[in-house]
Symmetry: C3
Subunit: 315 residues, 3 copies
């Protein structure tokens, strides 16, 4: 593996999940691999889980880790050929090439605009970084994907599944703010390559982009979608069609115990942070249905598996 | 020791001071203890000494250290059962449980509101964190206590005391802003367990909370309190009674050389940062009375002793 | 070497460039030197290259590195004898002495006011830090100098020079904002000690301070200065005479391919970040003339050479 931007960078997902499982079983077994290697993490947006888990993964592998919060004070120009007479002090060409001098691997978190769909769905920022970097790039959540989350999700489902080909339901859930489609997109993309029975449920108008949903079945009746589910993955996203908008809906899509009771005693998953009693009832999160904490724990081993594979490839 | 939130977590303070002295004598003697252990430090408020000294202590012990500044961009809900439709994006239940996945020990700095005395004196934030974390929690100064500072203070007094049972005076001093009572509270709580002759002096209206001051003598005449003192510990705090307020006072309580001359050639202590010529005269800080720099140095070994004891207990 | 604030701290520049070359050839050869040593980096202003390269240099040497961003929330008083009743919470006397307790070496970035020339040219902040620190201080760019940059520049010229005594031209270039003179000052100061044919070119009114330019030839005709140049070092700075001002100029000083063609196939240097098509044409940066990325890479080994020499001296 060179870069890790999407499922397309994974030649064998089953194998990568196994590497993550091995990292979880023996987190400190490969510290020679990362010795004197530096991971630089660039955050254009806030992060808790991704930052902590990726830093922990790097340390487990014996790597050094340098974190740069770029939310303020350092604006990048991503367009080519422009006269840089704005507030943007540095071009991605220089920034990417320069950081590549100090890093063995670069991680980037960069959220979407939610206003310019073409730019967001070209995954413009991380693609430009990857283009001009001379070292591997790992997505810490880009405009349209969150592949480290999805690998942790795949690992979590592998750990908790009680039968072959479990029914996995991705359900839209309410939120106050317009959120990216990244987690949903990426989850669908990964699950399509796993041996699961995947279904997506959301209100009309919240259809995921065709390039992601592909032929995955969509059920507009949430209660019906929950029937016999083994895993319920809840996540809010804003509309792709009415890009970045929150649409009026005519029922409450919050995940409740009542809904969970229609499942096959399903495990409840969420990437966190989660707004209690908006996205999901307290009762669900506080019950044995919830595996969100172990799911968060698995972020470390997803990141560690990816870093390990990249380091092995570089060698 | 599991958590370190207050003197109540210390079974034997004399022994803990000795551990700190040993850490100071041989800072790098226990690096195997911290190998592959991660300390996550969460700062809801700014910090210089606490951050640097605790990070240094962790590194002395061979631990990894990850610092999160949470002043902006990540607001936590601490109340149970609420509908999270405000600006608070994550509940302490998830945050604490999740960070526990990545950390072997969590440190939290969280200042008081200075408006809600009940919440502050329940030490609500750090108690909620401790409740929901699955790993030990260390206070980096909470709403009402600063126990790492107090341990460093105890170590400093042990180093500089010239006689048994020295007279130790905690004196209120002026400041421009309404400050927490944490340092004073915690200092009193620790000194009550040391073999010292403790006295507190402050203007009327600045009485510390009864649960902290207990039977420690209070002298309202500052000059009189200074007589024969071996240690003068200066600190401002806002009123507990008129909670969080700055009260009008009718004399200047700034620590001067004139005041110091009434002592038994006392050592001058302050937790820093200190506003010169507001809290204390330049002349005192620049004189041999002052031990504030060594006191700051001792922060490292106080933190190291606490981390060491927690790591030993976990093993 | 104790401190590293300017060329005056370098007893033998040729030797220091050689140390940097050795560090580049074998970056991890001296990790015992930095073991259990801590570098504290204080940033009063933003930084990308300096932060990453210095942190990398420290890690290459086996040091621990702690970064403090002090842009917000922690204001220092640098004047002596004042009553600290302003927003400045701590005096440099305490701050410097305290940080010295936790650090083996302190780095400081502190930009000029660009309004108070006397204070800036006394290099007031870093001089006060150095005065009150009890450990070595390294400049990460002060009000008037950027000596780590200049050492990287000297290393870069040594690597790319094809003949003895190459012609090195420092050329002023346009910018939108009033920038410090630090890079230009420091570059001139270093080059005056190298075996190069140094020339400076800029519009009238942009003369560098006499204490820096000394007897170095100044050519006001940019095109003429470029003739037969082996290295073109471009950098904007604001006026020293009309202190901190941007002056009206009557031609475009942007570096173009047309200008580069008048050189002896010169290498193009810039400390970055660079505003494309304002300071320099895209065509130059994208051509083989440009060595700016390797120049940025050399920042690591410049910092490493300086840290190495300081650690060796301390031992």
């Amino acid at each position: 593996m060179h870069n890790y931007l999407s499922i397309k960078d994974v030649t064998n997902l089953n194998q990568l999940v196994q590497v993550a499982q091995q990292c979880k079983a023996q987190p400190f077994a490969h510290q020679a691999l990362g010795k004197n290697k530096t991971l630089v993490l660039l955050f254009m947006n806030p992060s808790l889980r991704t930052r902590l888990s990726t830093q922990k993964a790097a340390q487990n592998l014996g790597m050094n880790c340098i974190v740069m919060n770029l939310q303020q004070g350092w604006q990048l120009e991503f367009e080519d050929g422009v006269r840089m007479d704005t507030t943007k002090a540095e071009h991605i060409r220089e920034a990417a090439a320069v950081i590549s001098q100090y890093a063995d691997i670069i991680g980037l978190r960069s959220f979407p605009t939610l206003t310019d769909r073409d730019q967001d769905y070209a995954d413009f920022f991380i693609q430009q970084l990857t283009r001009y970097a001379s070292v591997p790039v790992v997505s810490l959540e880009s405009a349209i994907r969150h592949p480290l989350q999805s690998l942790a999700d795949a690992l979590t489902i592998a750990e908790y599944q009680k039968k072959e080909r479990p029914k996995v339901v991705l359900t839209w859930a309410p939120h106050l703010k317009a959120l990216p489609q990244a987690v949903g997109n990426s989850f669908v993309e990964f699950m399509q390559q796993r041996d699961v029975n995947l279904m997506v449920t959301h209100p009309k108008g919240y259809e995921l982009a065709p390039e992601f949903i592909k032929s995955t079945p969509v059920e507009y009746d949430q209660a019906k979608a929950f029937e016999n589910a083994d895993f319920i993955y809840a996540k809010n996203w804003s509309s792709y069609e009415s890009y970045g908008k929150i649409l009026p809906i005519d029922q409450d899509w919050m995940i409740t115990m009542k809904l969970m009771q229609q499942t096959n005693n399903a495990k409840f998953m969420h990437c966190l942070p989660v707004r209690r009693n908006v996205v999901v009832e307290d009762a669900v999160l506080n019950s044995d249905h919830s595996v969100v904490i172990e799911q968060a724990n698995n972020r470390t081993f997803a990141a560690q598996a990816v870093l390990k594979r990249i380091l092995e490839t570089k060698r």
